[in-house]
Amino acid sequence: MTDIAGAVGPIAPDTVERMLGGETAATPGATFGRKARPGRPGALHREGALFACAGHALGDDLDARLARDDFAGLDGAFAAARWDGTTLTLIRDPFGQRALFWTVVGGTFYFASELATLLAAPGVKVELDPIAVHKYLTFSFVPGEATPIAGVRRVAPGHVLTWRDGRVETRPWFVLEEHIAPVEQGAASKTLWRLALEAVGRRLRPGRAGLYLSGGIDSSAVGLWLKDAGADVTAFTLDFGAASVEREEAIEVARHLGLRHTLVPVQPAELGTHLDAIAGGLEMPFGDPVTGPHWLLGRAARAAGFDTVWNGEGGDQLFGGWTSKPMIAAAIYGGESETPAQQYLRSYHRFYGLEAELYAPALAAAVTPGERRATIARFLESDRAHTFLNRVRLTDISLKGSHNILPRAERMAAAHGLDLQMPLFDRRLAEWSFTLPTDLKLHGACEKYVLKLALQKRLPEAIVWRRKFGMSVPVTDWVLGPLRPVVETLLSDEAVRRRGLLRPEFVRALREGHDVAGETRRRRLGERLWALLMLEAWCRRFLDGRGRPA
């Protein structure tokens, strides 16, 4: 993996080098830098214009594309910057796999693909943005261009930002739109197969490929396509011991596909010792407990000598996974007191609706009403999709996908120096998925129907057609068990009071194992506590330590 940083404006000559710690290139008015592992995708040059790229655009010269302002068909996992002497252009990949942070201090525009690097720029103030915290407590991640640090922003996924004469402008270069075209089931499944193979082929590089194999249909499909593309694949599967939900299925798929297979044991107590490293690696607060196990997967893959890993993220978002179902149920019955946007917010199951009990007075006072709904409404009420299912899909891809699933997975792989490939978040595949009739996605109650049709002859029937099981991280057992000492430290009454964001009594009740009344799922308690734990760990790393290890 490669990271970049740069500055446009008056700076000391060694500023970018000190921020990033890598090689730099300069032209009048701007300095860019790159820190790379040998052989990893990325670029830094000043041929005509100053250009730096973390990651790469698939088969494209991104510098030339930016010069031409041509983004047709552009795809890949990248964050790049170009300075032509008058205009700085920043661009991020279509689905937001690579991050790109920026800020302006004293007339100088700074950018970096890592938050800690940006915070090392001179004069950057590190102050918490309460609105970002408010959103995090609802979504378990921070959506949008803001970060939890006031004044530090991100280029949005699929967007271009320009800085010229002190003015910032942003515009989308990639938008998903629904254009449904009638298609037979058989033809649709063949097209999916072809596009998926192409998506894998475009990303495949020589050498061994690691695969995060959950045992579900999406990662099994990626394993199958990798094999078909001739890759030498080793699968890695999390082993939660007796709490494993899909481990046996993963073993079966690996055997069926003839993959080497490694089970990665998850010791929750060990995660406690790595919490600061996980928070630091994530860079933004991510409250889903899957990040800890992903960190362990990355470590195992790196220890086994891999530098590229693949996963099956994106199947739910593109082809209609279970997340559509609650929204359909809510839409059918009609909420008398809630809009679809409010129902969607509630579907994240963190602290939406619990603000009065959770928020300390200062945070409650800083929150302006409607911020979160506005974030949702941009997608859920968008005229880019006309069917209900695809509006939910668009929202899922744009928020849960681009602001959560992709960046957190990339960061947890990057923490171990791994490049992560997510072939289901492929531009052509995604655009094609928005041409599919909706009953090929959700067919009755059958999720991802077209994907299952495509795979049914190549994977065991029980794997393809079995009912979806939920995320298997036994997080409540962790936070009330082996991780309790960490929870008691980071979320003690004193720690919570000192941070000043939350009410200690609410957090204490969670710590003591009391979830909100009416909560039927025990794992929600763990998910809520983990989200608070990661928020505090993030605050310690980035607010208190400016990104440096605790």
Partner: protein, 352 residues
Amino acid sequence: MKCARCGHDSKYPERAGRKCPGCGGRFAFEPREGDPINDVAFDKALDWVSSGGTVAFTMGNLHHAVARRIAPKSFGCLLYAPFVVGILGGMVAVGAGRPGLAATLLLGFFGLGAALLVGNKRRPLGLTVPAFQALYRRWVDAHGRPPKLIPPPADRPAQLDPALTSELASYSFDRAVICDRAETVDLLLANDFHFENNCAVLSFDGHPRHVFATVRAMLRHNPRLEVFALHDATPFGCKLAWLLRHQPDWFEGTEVRVFDVALRPGQAARQPRLLWRTREDVEKHPALTDRERHWLGRYRMELAAFRPEQLVKRLFRAMNHMPEAASGDGGGGDLIWTSEATASDGGADSFG
């Protein structure tokens, strides 16, 4: 008596005009003038039934909660007095050299004690619907309508535009809860059970009317649908699962599995203090055993007797475990239902 608003404790003469001398607020009840309950007890019933104001509840739930509050108190330690008297009397009689009298005293008082214990445990609820409604109206007059109370079931106009209905109607649900009463449907919907569990919720007789036909048609799109019958312990309720399996407009002739979640008499009988007495001849029916018919001829139990939070948790747990536990014939849910439920991970907790 304490004020439910401000907590001020006042003597009867201080409460002129039934107003609290502390805050001036009006009392709904005055036990000194014959009311069976005071404001604090009613307020506690509301707090209990709504789990601290967080869970929606029906009028039936509140009725049961209030009935519990005003049911004659358990005699507590006094219930054991016959045993003590019997032992002491027996000792005195033995000391006086009259072992026969001692044995008689012991047997007699122990028998009395046992009868009192059993009777106390089995005494059913006794607050009638009109009596409860009168209390409720007085509470509303003094304190306003409880915020989490679900309005009585009513027909509503269709809310969806036809295009959206047409699209949504092509999808289906993983599971369906079919109830014998509209109130139970509304309780589940108001507490987002459908949203949390991708679950259709309907009553057998067509509630909610504005989506009933659409939702029932959606159920037919899923051949792997799991159906859960949820009902009162009444003759009709106990036939519900059977009717769902045997009626062509429901699931007759399909491979859909129908599970009878609750309440069967065997489940209800474990909660003797939540029963209502009745006297009725219950006709023979293939869905009812003779023993159940006999029980249903003497007792009723409503789901509304359960605290809503508990009902939702028990239903969630039963739905996740019954398909696994059952041998395929839809039985086996008694223990899953009757034990106290906490938030559960559930064996098939499939969604997010």
